[in-house]
Symmetry: C2
Subunit: 228 residues, 2 copies
Amino acid sequence: MTKLKFDITMSLDGFIAGPNPGPDAPLGEGGERLHQWVFGLKSFEQRHGRGGGKTNRDDEIAEESLADTGAVIMGRGMFGGGPGPWHESWEGWWGEEPPFGMPVFVLTHHAREPLVMKGGTTFTFVTEGIESALEQARAAAVGQGVAIAGGGRVVQQYLDAGLVDEFQVHVAPVLLGDGVRLFDQPGADQIELEVVRVVESEAVTHLRYSVVRVAPSAGSGATVEDPN
Amino acid sequence: MTKLKFDITMSLDGFIAGPNPGPDAPLGEGGERLHQWVFGLKSFEQRHGRGGGKTNRDDEIAEESLADTGAVIMGRGMFGGGPGPWHESWEGWWGEEPPFGMPVFVLTHHAREPLVMKGGTTFTFVTEGIESALEQARAAAVGQGVAIAGGGRVVQQYLDAGLVDEFQVHVAPVLLGDGVRLFDQPGADQIELEVVRVVESEAVTHLRYSVVRVAPSAGSGATVEDPN
């Protein structure tokens, strides 16, 4: 069975986006401060179709998280915005050549035909919940890992359901004070973690954990609920 | 000028105590899971009047945080419980020989004579707010550092006021899901951090930061407010 994982940058005070995220500021106010460590790395430049960029330990780690991934799962907000039906013409935040280059499964309430983008990215819209999305993503990943791209509620749902195998939190040396929390769900105390690896740099601390035991809390794990 | 610092254990999801802390469970429900890394270390055993205990990198770090400290500041909750006037006979949670062995300044609204305990600990009650407590603690520390022992609101007030020089967060590989957050104040985005050192072990990750720039947010820094 391929691994389900996520890789996410969090401020020291627990936020993965600043307050008031929206079309003009998908990372929320001040949210770009979280991702300073990524900007200018070789892997980042490459992913965005540019040459050059820094190579260092941070770059290796950014690279590594993409290397063993064959499919991506994301919430509807991360694909292209909030609730309500879409126009079929709306192709999301990511432009005509999204930086995934692999199958992406979008959790939503609104059925829609798959979107085939340039560069190998296809968006498939899943209305049957997180377990169905995972099953489809595993099939598409052909032996490679499946990555949850976010947002926080999607990550939490997979964690609560006991479906996540491992994850990496990149702790940015930043306090946002307010915004969207990565971990914000009471059921989380049923999850046991093990530290797998810690890598430090001046810009960020990479903490990798595996989930070693899960006893889904009542009313969480079994629900197949769409986050958007 | 002596440094103001704090050293605190936090779950990966940001909590320094579980839900419903109280006289029977000062760490809150499940809060003892945070401190697994400390139990059984040589420095911990010593501090509690016992011999033996493990010596390892975690022990060195626990030791180190006490080594350069000449005085402690804490909130009233950490001394001995919630709001309302005390009985003068109430000597707090810490027993007749508290494990500090140095002057401790307790932030409170309720004036009270200092308490001299066994083993070098004195509790001095400060009703004039955080800056006064810091001034008194600095004088008492005689060139050594001043440590904020907690709780979270006291830590936050000193951070917001731009008075903290450096701090260490021991990130426990634990999700509590609910409880008392270390960082829970919108003003925090005015604080810039720098990673000073990262030390890992299987049990915990020690992240040390220095505060490099502070622009106190409107209405926070200048207030001299008691947390209890």
